[in-house]
Symmetry: C2
Subunit: 413 residues, 2 copies
């Protein structure tokens, strides 16, 4: 396997044309689409239209004429197709954190209505911090308890005291992928509900919320959905639960008839009650363009390429960087990992990532010791995998990462 | 007073150059800046830079290099200058509805800590619905009670059972302006805290949160701040309260050190703990341009012109539309109104507004019977006031509003 083999793989790649959907900075190998997806070309034109024509010329009328008011549902339906949600079951709104608050509130209330002894939110100790912070905040307010365990202990921990199991399907640090169907089934057998955070799943791999009989899901717009920095998030509630609870962030967009301006809140039917404030039109428009880039492919084909890219990256790093202290953190079994590969290194992880960035290979570092590389099959090529590893080899062999400038921590890592 | 007099007033207007900051559609009299402010020219260029350069080329690095991560504070400080908040006291985040949930949670908790019998949120019956919906949702969760009264009964209602008085300073339907200083003082005398919604105040008139010793405030970015459709909102907490409570939407951006990725939530000091999810960069950038258009003037000068515009509009409508069933809803005393003028009409209000829109005069209708006209002194001219009234005269005299097409309700009114 050499660089030419990778070029040949790219030439045969049935998804290779998808890369043309994006503005990719020249000379960069971007392995950070799991933190911020790259800019879709369509988003530039779309934002110009939304700003200059819809906002600039049509102004307030655009809520109707440009369909602004239905953007949360329209973009939601598109995301729904990627995660196994039916039409009208998923909306775009707020941030992942805020949406987690809504669905955890609902899950706690519904579980307790079935059994008042269910007072626990169970999650993984290494879940993404904002999920834990939101769950902890809610648990304090509701007299519930947040119980954190290691991934391997989840099954044994979910029991008759558990109201809800809250998991991120793909772990942000390790890339480990939970089996949504199996985990959901076991939790249901224990009488608990399940909230899935799809931040690193949506747009990255096939998800079937309906097939798994999941209860609630939230997810992020700015990673594999390419929605832009701070893009709004999404929220899904299984139809069997959607009308059972009035979520506490009961803003006017979740009202059955917001433009009646009634002083009494009457929740909309279905998922619309999970909307809250006025929809962020500019961000929603950009997100729609991002989602469209994923819908341009089959998610199964993307997954197949994702596995091929990550497998090759693991193989090349382990072969070519042997003896440099990198140990694979991501599951070697492709069925058990998402679309990222992480290595731990006892020292210098941050500086090595910085040295790679200086060479144009963009990955990221996750404290305390993780070098993280995300692979977005829409635009990542096999030759990018080769080049990234080549730079990593050079960074490690030269020891250039030890230079002081690579060791100065920036505010956002 | 005729049209030429208005043109003369515009020629003498010391603020006339401010209009050049905006893209205004030709042939339109836009009296709806209190629903959606018009597009600042700077926002077009800024969004292009943010999208094409910062997102498109610099990608994830822009969180540091383009200052994305500090946008909530930077734009917040600018808004703070318009509402009497000190530097570092106000942040931009989420929606008005979500921010209300945060500050009402804090206000309830702080008030109860002082006196457990304080279980009431008091508000105005005709407050904007989303404020009432959020307060009602929170009251249900917290075992509190939402008590709604008419504006004139507020003073008598706030008593030893009141935790928090929640008011929108300028009523969205009537334009009535509360005296922030006097109302806050009376509420404090009764031992209650005050939450101010500045949706129709920020950027429209001088506000002095610090001088009034207010406790909490939220406000909207897409009205007089010209931040674009669904722009993010802002939240302010007086420094004496900011560190006293951990608000329940404890997302990672409110953490003392979000990029340590600690599993334990440690709230940031001060207002930063009122942040929640990842900041919406595109929307924040547009909002900053909108806020800059207001900072280009003195808010006192804007207020002076606003009063002149609204006084003239009232005078012209009452003189020229006499006998057509319009009755002034907005206070005649300029010190008691915001920057809008509303008339009630027993029938046909919606259709009259639609007929005006068809003529290029954009106001809006608020159920059940209000014709609402907003005046944004940054771009509204005296000749616009004249022309709007001239069209209103013609609509009423011709009876054209009775045509069926004007009576068909659109989804968003």
């Amino acid at each position: 396997m050499n660089r030419n083999d990778c070029i040949a793989l790219d030439a045969q790649d049935p998804l290779r044309a998808l890369r043309d959907q994006f503005e990719l900075p020249p000379g960069i190998v971007y392995l950070d689409g799991n933190s911020l997806g790259v800019l879709p070309k369509a988003a530039m034109a779309r934002l110009r239209t939304v700003v200059e024509d819809e906002w600039g010329r049509e102004l307030i009328k655009s809520w109707n004429t440009a369909g602004w008011i239905t953007l949360p549902q329209r973009v939601g339906d598109k995301i729904g197709r990627l995660v196994g949600a039916g039409p009208g079951e998923l909306v775009v709104a707020d941030s992942t954190s805020v949406n987690l608050f809504k669905v955890l509130s609902a899950a706690l209330a519904i579980a307790r209505a079935g059994s008042p002894a269910r007072l626990r939110i169970v999650s993984e100790r290494s879940n993404f911090p904002t999920d834990l912070y939101i769950a902890d905040g809610l648990a304090r307010e509701r007299g519930a308890e947040l119980v954190l365990v290691d991934a391997d202990d989840l099954a044994a921990t979910v029991d008759e005291r558990t109201a809800v199991l809250m998991l991120t399907q793909v772990n942000y640090r390790t890339g480990r992928l939970h089996d949504m169907q199996a985990v959901t089934r076991r939790a249901h057998e224990a009488g608990a509900l399940v909230v899935w955070d799809l931040a690193h799943s949506a747009g990255a791999l096939p998800v079937d919320l309906t097939g798994a009989r999941a209860d609630f899901a939230v997810g992020c717009g700015y990673k594999y959905l390419n929605g832009g920095p701070g893009a709004p998030a999404f929220v899904w509630v299984h139809p069997r639960h959607a009308d059972r609870f009035r979520q506490p962030l009961s803003g006017w967009m979740g009202h059955a008839a917001p433009f009646e301006f009634s002083s009494d809140y009457r929740p909309a039917a279905g998922i619309a009650r999970y909307l809250c404030g006025t929809p962020p039109v500019l961000s929603l428009a950009a997100l729609e363009c991002g989602v469209d880039t994923v819908l341009a492919a089959s998610i199964e084909a993307l997954r197949e390429k994702s596995i091929a890219l990550t497998a090759r990256f693991i193989d090349l790093v382990e072969t070519r960087c042997a003896g440099h202290g990198l140990s694979l953190v991501t599951p070697r079994d492709a069925q058990r990992r998402g679309s990222q590969v992480c290595f731990a290194r006892a020292e210098g992880g941050y500086a090595i990532v910085q040295a790679l960035i200086a060479r144009g290979v963009i990955g990221d570092f996750r404290a305390p010791d993780i070098l993280r590389f995300g692979f977005t099959p829409l635009y990542t090529r096999f030759v990018d995998v080769w080049d990234a590893v080549e730079h990593l080899v050079q960074v490690l062999q030269s020891g250039e990462w030890k230079a002081a400038r690579f060791n100065q921590r920036a505010a956002v890592t």
